[in-house]
Amino acid sequence: MNINFTLISQAIAFSVFIWFTVKYVWPPLLRAIEERQKTIADGLAAGERGRHELELASQRSSDVLKEAKQRASEIILQAEKRATEVVEEAKRTAKEEGDRIIAGAKADIEHEMFSAKEALRQHVAQLAVAGAAKILRREVDAKAHADMLASIEEDLK
């Protein structure tokens, strides 16, 4: 255990190593570490923000979904109502149309009947006149009884 010049030489070596570390080793590594720490912190913050946004988005999407479902059920309800309305209206128009067709047919029939009656009456009158004329040929002067004949004809109408 003898103290000698080695002590001074080791102290010099020690100070050189310290100087080297202080100047060339520590600062760049510290910079790299701090930069990475910042990057990681930023990344974590971004992740947190992303998570938050995802939460908001899922909230929004569920809201939209709920609203859409509600709208859909409303639309279905409306459609059903409309469908019954349409059916009702169709029934009504069909009935009206049917009534109108029936009424037209009745009017036609009446008219036909009337004209047939008219024709028949005319025919009967002519037949009656003709018959009466045949019966009364000799006794009746067509000219003298024209008025009478006309009034009969008028009556038969």
């Binding site: 255990m1 000698n4 102290a11 020690f14 190593f17 202080v22 060339y24 520590w26 590594l29």
Partner: protein, 269 residues
């Protein structure tokens, strides 16, 4: 083992405890332990050079494995310093702590290398007859470190508190401001300032030196016969494994004490 003409336990231990010296001047002080100096400088250059090479290519993105390893060490030390030192540690204290931890760890770790095999390699490959491969078993190394740190402590005392502040602290703490207590305070502080570098350096030296001696004793046991070889090997392996802990722990303690001493120099009482 060494190729001494006559191998006795004394010569064996003597051989392993003899430095390779060089006389650099007149007198017993001007002796240089070449083995201590060269080994420690080589270790420092290798370890700090490795860190420097990694750091030069350091990226703030995804680190390579070697960068992650260096960052692990650096962040570990930075954390320890942060807990103790409350100032801008990046200017000086933290890098110094890194230097000490890495360098002392490397020097201590030389203790784990099998001592006789290393002696054989050094002798036959490099022709070096006496070469102590563990620089921290040289009290000069530990004193050099502790005294450098001691001077740094004095420097920071003066730098932070000023001459007046430091003198005030020397005379008025820890017992009180009364002039009657000045001498007592000064004596107390004197003892503290003397004991700090002594305990600092001798703790490291003692632990590593004792470890070295135990390896030597186990090596001697191996020379007694087959059973001695077997037990010596088993115990040697056990001691080497345990020594991994001691080596790391002593490097860590040395670093922590450095940080504590320099922090104390920064804080007023």
């Amino acid at each position: 083992m060494a190729s001494d003409t006559e191998l006795t336990p004394t010569s064996y231990i003597d051989h392993h405890l003899t430095y390779l010296t060089a006389q650099v001047g007149e007198g017993s002080f001007w002796v240089l332990h070449v083995d201590t100096l060269v080994t420690s400088v080589i270790l420092g250059v290798i370890s700090l050079g490795f860190i420097w090479l990694v750091v030069r290519k350091a990226t703030s993105g995804v680190p390579s494995k070697s960068q992650a390893f260096v960052e692990l060490a650096v962040e570990f030390i930075d954390n320890e310093v942060k807990n103790t030192f409350h100032g801008n540690r990046h200017v000086f204290v933290a890098p110094t702590a890194l230097t000490i931890f890495v360098w002392v760890l490397m020097m201590n770790a030389m203790d784990i290398l099998p001592i006789d095999i290393m002696a054989w390699i050094l002798e036959h490959a490099f022709g070096l007859h006496n070469w102590k491969i563990v620089p921290t078993t040289d009290v000069n190394t530990t004193f050099a470190l502790a005294l450098s740190i001691w001077f740094l402590m004095l420097f920071f005392n003066v730098k932070v508190k000023g001459w007046g502040g430091w003198m005030h602290e020397l005379f008025c703490t820890p017992f009180g401001k009364s002039p009657l207590l000045w001498i007592l305070n000064l004596l107390f502080n004197f003892i503290e300032y003397v004991s700090k570098p002594l305990s600092h350096s001798l703790r490291l030296f003692g632990n590593i030196y004792a470890g070295e001696i135990i390896f030597l004793l186990l090596g001697m046991w191996a020379a007694t016969g087959v059973s001695g070889t077997i037990f010596g090997s088993i115990l040697g392996a056990g001691w080497a494994i345990f020594h991994i802990l001691i080596v790391t722990l002593q490097a860590f303690i040395f670093m922590m004490l450095t940080v504590v001493y320099i922090s104390m120099a920064h804080e007023s009482h």
